[in-house]
Symmetry: C2
Subunit: 332 residues, 2 copies
């Protein structure tokens, strides 16, 4: 049924080694044999079986990305960046989603253990530092978007603390002094770092992070709405809000509009990520951009370098973020 290298060799009247050489193009083959082989490959519609090839080579040139939520366009954009780099260097990127559960994440990690893939990128993992370090000893793994304290593992993120600071400064510069913070309470570092940076910005203006202006729960966008409800019930509601994700911010924005507020005037909102949807809200949403393509390319490059080297680079890389002001933020 399926045509193999043997069939090609027999048809072309050469050995399988010659066919293999032509296909891989590293060893020297006479032009006449090469031509003959290429023609035969074409004629039979032969495509090398990668299971055989990879088994022999002990590598697959495939990288797995495990993400908590495949419906979040941020992650998929990063994958596009990885693909861009991977394509140029002979690697395929495949994805799997863990629904942010450890059990599913572990299941997918089997693809690393059983050599289905050469390496894995974890976009926000449920593994702890100790586990990650143990894994990194034996396999090529990288973290992206979300670092883990104490994990001595290749990591690519934005500088979340600085990004939080920059978002805060952007609002402070617009004259806002009462600023609500919609965060996430979890083991995840990034949300905490963003809050820390935000608090640093406030301090620079002689302000403290008022607990009343602090709403922290999960990334579920419903919390954007709940936060606004809480903030607006205060005697002195904030005039601006910083949310650690665009989805939270969008839901907050929607709630504000429903409450009759003019966003960008009565209240300013800034999100985080710069998903494409930011430009489709009314008004469009200010945000802190994560350079997804750049992040994807960097993590792919570093991971592939690790795969092909015996000295692992387990450094922590940060990529530049960028505050983007749109209609949802205005002067106080």
């Amino acid at each position: 049924m399926s045509v193999t290298i043997k069939d090609v060799a027999r048809e072309a009247g050469v050995s399988v080694a010659t066919v293999s050489r032509v296909l891989n193009g590293n060893s020297s083959v006479s032009e006449s044999s090469a031509k003959l082989v290429r023609e035969t490959v074409e004629r039979l519609g032969y495509s090398p079986n990668f299971l055989g090839r990879n088994l022999r080579k002990r590598s697959t040139n495939v990288i797995l990305v495990i993400m908590p939520n495949a419906e979040h366009s941020l992650y998929m954009k990063i994958c596009v960046g990885m693909q861009t780099y991977g394509q140029k260097h002979g690697y395929d990127i495949i994805t799997a989603s863990s629904n942010a559960t450890n059990a599913v994440e572990s299941r997918h990690m089997n693809m690393v253990f059983n050599k289905t893939v050469d390496g894995v990128v974890l976009m926000g993992t449920s593994f702890d530092a100790q586990t990650l370090n143990r894994l990194a000893d034996n396999y090529d793994i990288a973290l992206c978007c979300e670092g883990v304290t104490g994990a001595n593992v290749l990591t690519v993120t934005v500088d979340d603390e600085q990004a939080g600071y920059d978002a805060g400064i952007a609002l402070l510069k617009k004259g806002h002094r009462k600023i609500g913070f919609i965060g996430v309470r979890s083991t995840a570092l990034s949300a905490t770092l963003r809050r820390n940076g935000f608090a640093r910005a406030l301090r620079e203006y002689g302000l403290e992070l008022d607990p009343a202006y602090l709403y922290e729960n999960t990334y579920d966008d419903e919390n954007g709405e709940l936060a606004i409800e809480r903030f607006m019930s205060l005697p002195e509601p904030p005039t601006a809000v910083f949310a650690v994700s665009d989805l939270l911010a969008m839901r907050a924005l929607k709630k504000c509009v429903e409450l009759g507020l003019t966003v960008g005037k009565d209240i300013s909102i800034i999100g985080f990520d710069n998903i494409s949807m930011c430009e489709l809200t009314n008004p469009s949403l200010s945000t802190v951009e994560q350079p997804c393509l750049k992040m994807g390319e960097l993590v792919a490059r570093k991971l592939i370098e690790n795969i092909n080297s015996d000295t692992k680079d387990n450094k922590y890389y940060t990529v530049p973020h960028r505050v983007i002001l749109r209609g949802s933020t205005g002067d106080k």
Copy 2:
């Protein structure tokens, strides 16, 4: 370095065949050997190499999904549905994006040819019917979301014509008679079918599809805005708009708001897909839901059945859609 079945066999003092039998649990092995093997597997941290296993079994239990645009949450949601079914039946789902270009799609198809995956689902393909039929003869492939006329290939979509009809009727029932249509001009069937259904609804109310109310270009969301600009410059602008995708509809909605229109009152808008973002616009967006999870499960089930059978089911399946009315549609 990597521990193999041989190591386990040696350590446990049994043959590799016995280890294999224990691992696969089909053949009969004495309880004592089985226990011994399991303990040794545990102790050595053994994980079977899938390349070896798959090479021998001539299958990988992996299905590839090729989608034109990985950032579209619709596709990812369908993948979640596929995963749900796949997980229960021992299949992994991996994804790749083609950026809607034939070259990239073809490149990814290599994973099918070289046996890296057992089958493939194409979410809107650039291959023509003839090519698809030829491929389907030799490989297990399925189309999802978007059928191809003349392709005798397993396909799962909503009934696009009926869905277009239902969307039209929903607006007509609200009293609208001047309805703009934002469509897509391409080889893709679905957009055309939706327009046909929409036209059928109009005819039922004694109306014709007015070319002035017809804007057809690409899925690029910018067209939502351009369409509204065109419609609103007409002497008699439409009082409602039906767009063949939520993204087009959202961009149209945004433009209407910018023009000072009250969406849901001055103008009604209905989209297509029911992506989660529909509830985050202001007002929230009416739409025609594609049952992503159901579609994913169905296409996974049918494709896996095909993979494991020698008689291929190449039928065209439709799944039920649903009109969801939200704030963006109101009475005329």
